[in-house]
């Protein structure tokens, strides 16, 4: 997405079942530890956003892959970029899916919109029959 960022390391996890959601959360929590200077609040927000999006990938995308990257932007700011990709049915109306309270499942309808509010950057790309890709980035405040 952002061509000016540089990835220093990355790791991916297959999302196929409930246990994998736990692995995603644990991995994000682990990567958000020092030397990356996230505050506890930022850490918790990122882990929670990851939990929401990974569950979406599992439930609505029928499974997919999770990628975590340690990124640095042109201003030498460091952050974590998380990508959730699935080959599921895709989202017909993204604007609607991003509305608070809208759900096609039995959830609260706050997963996508809530995750967007929890992180610095959020992007979503989806089309019916083409699957879904959600990317979020959390930048550290201090250097």
């Amino acid at each position: 997405m952002n061509t000016t960022t540089k990835t220093t390391r990355s790791e991916s996890v297959l999302i196929r079942n409930q246990e994998d959601l736990q692995r995603v959360r644990a991995l994000v929590r682990q990567w958000a530890q020092p030397p990356l200077s996230f505050s506890t609040v930022e850490q918790t927000k990122l882990v929670t956003a990851a939990s929401e999006l990974a569950r979406n990938t599992l439930i609505y995308g029928l499974g997919g892959t999770f990628l975590i990257e340690d990124v640095t932007d042109a201003l030498a700011r460091r952050g974590l970029r998380l990508s959730f990709r699935d080959e599921g049915p895709g989202i017909p109306d993204i604007a609607k899916a991003m509305q608070d309270g809208y759900t096609t499942g039995g959830g609260m309808g706050l997963g996508l919109s809530g995750a967007k509010r929890l992180v610095s950057e959020f992007s979503i790309d989806s089309a019916p029959g083409k699957g879904t890709l959600v990317c979020i980035t959390q930048w550290t405040r201090r250097l």
């Binding site: 409930q18 929590r29 918790t44 929670t48 929401e52 809530g114």
Partner: protein, 289 residues
């Protein structure tokens, strides 16, 4: 090759007592912890049994490929390996059980063999054989460890979520760990049953030990509270840490009319007030009845 193996089996048969004694000595030296954890009788019994099976199998089929003949040896090693894994041995200490047989065995072979060629052949054959058996114990060892890990995982999942009575009519439900759907169901059941059993008016759900509160967890909590309310009990959520509070707000989750407190102590104070009780310092000098 075949003759070699039978020769080796004969050597073992003739010197069994000596080999056994030295072998056990070797085992004890190489694994210092062994003497502590395992009784000498166990070590002796296992070693002796292995020697018997090993030489019997050698007589039958030296290539160690015949499953029916070597199956017994393998089964025996499996049980040794498994019991050691459970006793806390390391993989190398377990494999040493087999490897340490080499020295006493080769020494006897050297005494008995007539030419350097036959000795070299026999040593090579035995070394290959014992190496593969030793590696096999390590493999089984790891497999048993994995089973232990799986079992522990299951136990962690099954960790009961106890409902405790703090005061007459006041229950507490300390939640710890991830609230996936399965665990939430048992949590909800436990709480509702506890409410009936203790005739509780107030239930405090403490989430200090819950690392992530996402929309699913929040939804489960709200449903649990609604169900408790239907049964006439009021719920208080306690243990909401600052970062969890901020995350809930950003997610847009509305906890609405649910009473929340930062700490369990605060929640208890409120709960007691609701049942018409309070906590006061003891008056000194008054006799205890």
């Amino acid at each position: 090759m075949n003759k070699n193996a039978t020769d080796v089996a004969n050597v073992i048969a003739r010197h069994k007592a000596d080999i056994l004694k030295e072998w056990i000595q070797r085992q004890k030296e190489s694994a210092s912890s062994l003497s502590g954890i395992m009784s000498s009788e166990d070590a002796l019994e296992q070693s002796s049994q292995f020697l018997d099976l090993f030489s019997a199998a050698l007589n039958e089929d030296p290539s160690a490929e015949n499953d029916t003949v070597w199956g017994e040896v393998r089964t025996m090693l499996e049980s040794v390996s498994r019991s050691r894994a459970l006793q806390g041995f390391s993989p190398s200490e377990t494999a040493t059980f087999v490897f340490s047989l080499k020295q006493p065995l080769f020494q006897r072979l050297r005494q008995e063999s007539k030419s350097a060629d036959t000795l070299a052949d026999a040593v090579w054959a035995m070394t290959t054989l014992l190496d593969s058996l030793g590696l096999y114990t390590a493999e089984v060892f790891l497999r048993s460890r994995e089973q232990v890990i799986l079992q522990q995982q299951q136990e962690l999942l099954d960790l009961s979520t106890p409902v405790v009575e703090l005061y007459r009519g006041v229950l507490a439900l300390p939640l710890i760990g991830t609230l996936d759907s399965e665990r939430t169901h048992s949590v909800m059941e436990n709480l509702l049953e506890g409410i009936v059993h203790h005739e509780a008016a107030i239930a405090i759900i403490d989430i200090t030990g819950v690392p992530t509160v996402d929309t699913l967890v929040a939804q489960h909590l709200i449903k649990t509270i609604a169900a408790a309310r239907l049964m006439g009990a009021e719920c208080i959520i306690s243990g909401i840490r600052p970062q969890i509070a901020q995350t809930i707000v950003h997610l847009g989750v509305d906890l609405g009319d649910v009473t929340t407190k930062a700490s369990l102590a605060e929640a208890l104070k409120l709960a007691l007030a609701k049942v018409g009780r309070g906590i006061a310092p003891l008056k000194t000098g008054t006799g205890l009845s």
